[in-house]
Symmetry: C3
Subunit: 136 residues, 3 copies
Amino acid sequence: MTQQIEFTLPAYPYGFHLVTSQVLSQIGKLPETGILHLFIKHTSAGLTINENADASVPDDIKQFFSDWIPDHYPKFEHVYEGRDDMPAHIKSSVVGQSVSIPITNGKLNMGTWQGIYLCEFRYSGGRRKIVATILS
Amino acid sequence: MTQQIEFTLPAYPYGFHLVTSQVLSQIGKLPETGILHLFIKHTSAGLTINENADASVPDDIKQFFSDWIPDHYPKFEHVYEGRDDMPAHIKSSVVGQSVSIPITNGKLNMGTWQGIYLCEFRYSGGRRKIVATILS
Amino acid sequence: MTQQIEFTLPAYPYGFHLVTSQVLSQIGKLPETGILHLFIKHTSAGLTINENADASVPDDIKQFFSDWIPDHYPKFEHVYEGRDDMPAHIKSSVVGQSVSIPITNGKLNMGTWQGIYLCEFRYSGGRRKIVATILS
């Protein structure tokens, strides 16, 4: 009883963007019990779960990540796709390209403060493709 | 044939805590083949798998993470929930809020040295809610 | 309808190694729709997805990770298994020990530039055991 849908999120600027409601509007009715698996088909973006309440949280994560992996890291050799490309690849593997969330009683069973974030690690990443798979 | 149970782990101090046996005692009989998916319903804690033998391993990971994301990072704006809050949010997205482990012949099919860790990233995080979903 | 197979990847040197074709050759025919879950049974290696085209990308990730967690980090206590052991444990929890990839129309539904990487974090890690579980 696996359901699957592929959809596209609009272009977002560099940073962490709450997309819980956009995702829910795409996937339709959920089963009683199962797992929602979300996968982003890109290597310079990611998906994560973090606090959904105060916008200073994703802003601080973005700032910390920018400081941690600077655009002009002197040892990077892969620079011809732009100074933000190699940092984006590393951040993508660090946060990961999928999240999986339990479904309970027909709803996503996240904590009160949890939301789904699109992690856009490029300065002009464009639209991003997501595959949602519902296992039940 | 999806099974699911939600349970609470007791409060742990800041650090990485081996919880394999606590998890197993909660989830009961496993199917012959499948996946155990564990999800923590919090954004300042995480779940990971790491060495289950020598306590100096989780201690060193904790130390490294503490040095890497210091409590008083000068650029953090989200500080009103405590100096440990913003580092906890970042660490949570770095290690992740779920683990999924194969089930083979009715048992978790981890390596000899693998154990499940609760990553408590707050100094007083309190009890933590876990959702265990068994897909088979 | 869960299928599962356990296989071994040959020893790789320290670094990130594209193993998409090796994985596909092991797992055989995929179902129409589902999830491929890959799990590495080790705590000093990992699995991730990243760019499959230019070898400078995995080389730069390796370089950045080596600089970030140096072998002789002065606060590490767990040093008796080798100077590369503790950095390997941390990197393993950062990139993670599993990846899960959607299956659509009987094929892995990754983006054009995505490939599966074995992350070998030890200098002589030896052969690595993988469990592939196909949920459909």
